[in-house]
């Protein structure tokens, strides 16, 4: 369940313009700058799936809008068969639960997926990337932290040199199919 009403509102605005609005921020990292530049480039060329594929759907919470891209069809279907279909929509798991991260991810994924879709040079079946895996992991914890607190790092202090990142168990190592029925093993075991 997303409970982010404000985000929803901003979104409507954006949808009506049909274009994403990227607000430059000092907190944006170089990738984003690159993103903005590439976007400029493509805007120049003129043909770009972002508009054609209803790019703004990236900004919506309705899973059917993800299915605007047929390559997402299977993911929507398996989500419908999953244990979470009545409690979480795509964005609950695939967008960070904090404001900035949310918009950065939307822009980032929205752009690159549209680009990939246009160029057709993506793996099929699609393979989730590490950065998006961090997003799903954090989403699980965000909803379930009370229940799973024993799985969280014993301490976040500097008492151990062990990388904090290696210190948390990956949820999808065991629960590979919560968002997508039949999602056989993950991966997800981020072993390092």
């Amino acid at each position: 369940m997303t409970n982010d009403d404000s985000a929803q509102q901003t979104q409507t605005n954006l949808t009506s313009t049909g274009q994403p609005i990227i607000r430059p921020s000092r907190r944006f990292r170089p990738g984003l700058v690159l993103f903005a530049m590439t976007l400029g480039l493509f805007a120049g060329i003129g043909t770009f799936t972002f508009g054609y594929g209803n790019g703004a759907s990236y900004l919506s919470n309705n899973p059917q809008t993800c299915a605007n891209c047929h390559v997402m069809q299977e993911h929507v279907e398996t989500w419908q068969h999953s244990s979470h279909h009545h409690v979480a929509v795509c964005n609950d798991c695939h967008l960070p639960h904090d404001e900035i991260g949310k918009w950065v991810t939307k822009a980032d994924n929205g752009f690159f997926h549209s680009l990939a879709f246009t160029l057709g040079d993506y793996p099929d079946p699609i393979q989730i990337k590490d950065r998006n895996r961090t997003v799903t992991q954090n989403a699980c914890i965000s909803c379930h932290k009370d229940f799973v607190h024993s799985l969280l790092p014993a301490s976040s202090s500097a008492e151990t040199k062990r990388a904090i990142d290696a210190n948390v168990l990956s949820c999808v190592h065991c629960h590979a199919d919560v968002g997508h029925a039949f999602h056989a093993f993950a991966t997800g075991s981020k072993r390092e």
């Binding site: 990292r29 900035i100 969280l152 008492e159 065991c174 075991s189």
Partner: protein
């Protein structure tokens, strides 16, 4: 690291009811802080068993189930008494009462894996360093240096002597009383063996493992299932690989078990040793033993096989090593994932400390990952284990045929020179058969590898048999 990566939230701190420290080898006070884990830990005294078992005062004897084991171990303590494993609660008791200990003189190193012995190592280590091991000093911190020193000091001492030392170490609850000379009780594996009493983080404490894994890190065995070792190798650090600092949590969830469920040498000719300097494969371990000489001189061996007089090696429970060759390790599945699965209690989940066969708990141990019916998972395991079993029986027949052939040529006057190459084959054959039969998963931990090793055992047994016939001494 990028902008999306939020700071990991730490575990909600627990309500400490009592303080525990580095001497708290008695689990009871820990149990007051962590009642669910403690209750499940206590269940290891339950002894329900799977197919390969029953319900007995002492677990069933493997020697009776597989009489060929008596010939395999002829002349060694294992031929007197060798039983199935059972729950952790029994480990100390089962060691005390085995005829291997009551009828044979054993070394103190036996307790390394059967008792909560670290505080005792620390105490003796401190004494050796000239420091007074007061309860406060003992309790203060882990003090790896002192622990290692104590371990080296007692490893080759007599079993009874070291056992008595256990009772001279405070265990966090007992108070010395006038009539009772004990300072503490002896406990089987306990919380302090796997957890840091301050943070509750899991850790490894066993000197044998700490040395073993450091040796392993310097080997060139690939080890894709232990990525922190590869990182350490890449860093070209001068410090030895230290699992407590470098291993990921998922690796630690197997390392805590690898402290004990491993092949070892443990007798009085040399300190307890895990033979990992060449890697974790069966051949790597064998190579280390082949290259080892006893400190007092003479090439390494475990026992002289009584029927034939051949010096051979004894393999013990190489679970960690065999698991390392399997698909689960490769996929990042740890021992704890299957043997200590999460359970739900009320609003939280916890790790079951009822360490036992996952086949008694298929639902939690397997079905989170494998969405197939229990009966189907059971059937898959049965197929793997039965196939291993068949090949093991075949290897056992080959082994006994070999012994008969050797005995015959010995009776007919074979010379030592003639026997030498045959003994070499015999040693390889017996090591391989023992390796898989003493591993406790009946092949499950790495199914193809288990059967491969048995196939080699058959090859060497039959080669030895053929070589004996070829001597033409019937």
């Amino acid at each position: 690291v990028n902008i999306f990566e939020r700071k990991q939230e730490a575990r909600t701190t627990f309500t400490k009811v009592v303080d525990v420290d580095e001497t708290s080898s008695d689990p009871e006070p820990w149990g007051r802080n962590f009642p669910v884990q403690y209750e499940s830990y206590l269940k290891t005294a339950d002894s329900t068993r799977t197919e390969y078992g029953g319900n007995h005062a002492l677990p069933p004897s493997k020697l009776e189930q597989d009489p060929w084991l008596k010939r395999l171990f002829a002349g060694y303590a294992f031929s007197i008494d060798y039983r199935e494993a059972r729950g952790h609660a029994f480990m100390l008791n089962d060691q005390e009462v085995t005829k291997r200990v009551t009828d044979v003189q054993q070394a103190g190193a036996c307790l390394h894996c059967h008792a909560s012995i670290i505080p005792t190592y620390r105490r003796i280590g401190l004494e050796q360093q000239g420091i007074d091991p007061t309860p406060a000093v003992l309790a203060k911190n882990f003090n790896q240096e002192a622990v290692m020193a104590g371990f080296e000091a007692v490893s080759r001492m007599k079993y009874e002597v070291v056992y008595a030392e256990l009772l001279q170490t405070p265990d966090g609850t007992d108070q010395a009383e006038a009539e009772d000379p004990h300072l503490g009780h002896a406990h089987p594996v306990s919380c302090v063996d796997c957890h840091d009493p301050k943070t509750m983080q899991i850790r490894v404490t066993r000197p044998g493992f700490i040395q073993g894994i450091a040796k392993l890190a310097t080997s060139d065995d690939p080890l894709p299932h232990l990525p922190s070792i590869q990182k350490w190798r890449d860093s070209e650090s001068d410090e030895p690989y230290d699992p407590n600092l470098l291993a990921s949590r998922q690796e630690m969830r197997s390392f805590v078990c690898g402290q004990c469920h491993v092949e070892y040498y443990c007798a009085n000719k040399m300190t307890l040793t895990l033979p990992w300097s060449n890697g974790l494969k069966m051949e790597d371990l064998e190579k280390e033993w082949d290259e080892t000489a006893f400190p007092e001189g003479g090439e390494f061996y475990d026992y002289v096989h009584k029927e034939t007089g051949t010096k051979v090696y004894k393999a013990q429970h190489p679970e960690f090593e065999l698991w390392s060759q399997g698909i689960h390790a490769r996929a990042g599945v740890s021992c704890s994932d299957c043997h200590m699965p999460y359970e739900k209690q009320g609003a939280t989940k916890y790790s079951s400390h009822w360490v036992r066969s996952p086949m008694l708990n298929i639902n939690r141990a397997c079905q989170t990952c494998h969405k197939v019916p229990e009966s189907e998972l059971q059937a898959r395991v049965d197929i793997i284990q039965n196939r291993t079993r068949d090949q093991m029986d075949r290897a056992a027949v080959a082994m006994t045929d070999m012994l008969d052939a050797i005995l015959q040529v010995q009776q007919n006057g074979a010379t030592e020179e003639q026997l030498e190459p045959i003994r070499a084959l015999q040693k390889k054959a017996m090591w391989r058969l023992d390796y898989i039969s003493s591993e406790n998963s009946k092949g499950f931990h790495a199914d193809q590898e288990a059967v491969r090793v048995l196939g080699e055992s058959i090859d060497y047994s039959r080669q030895a048999q053929a070589a004996a016939y070829k001597l033409d001494l019937k």
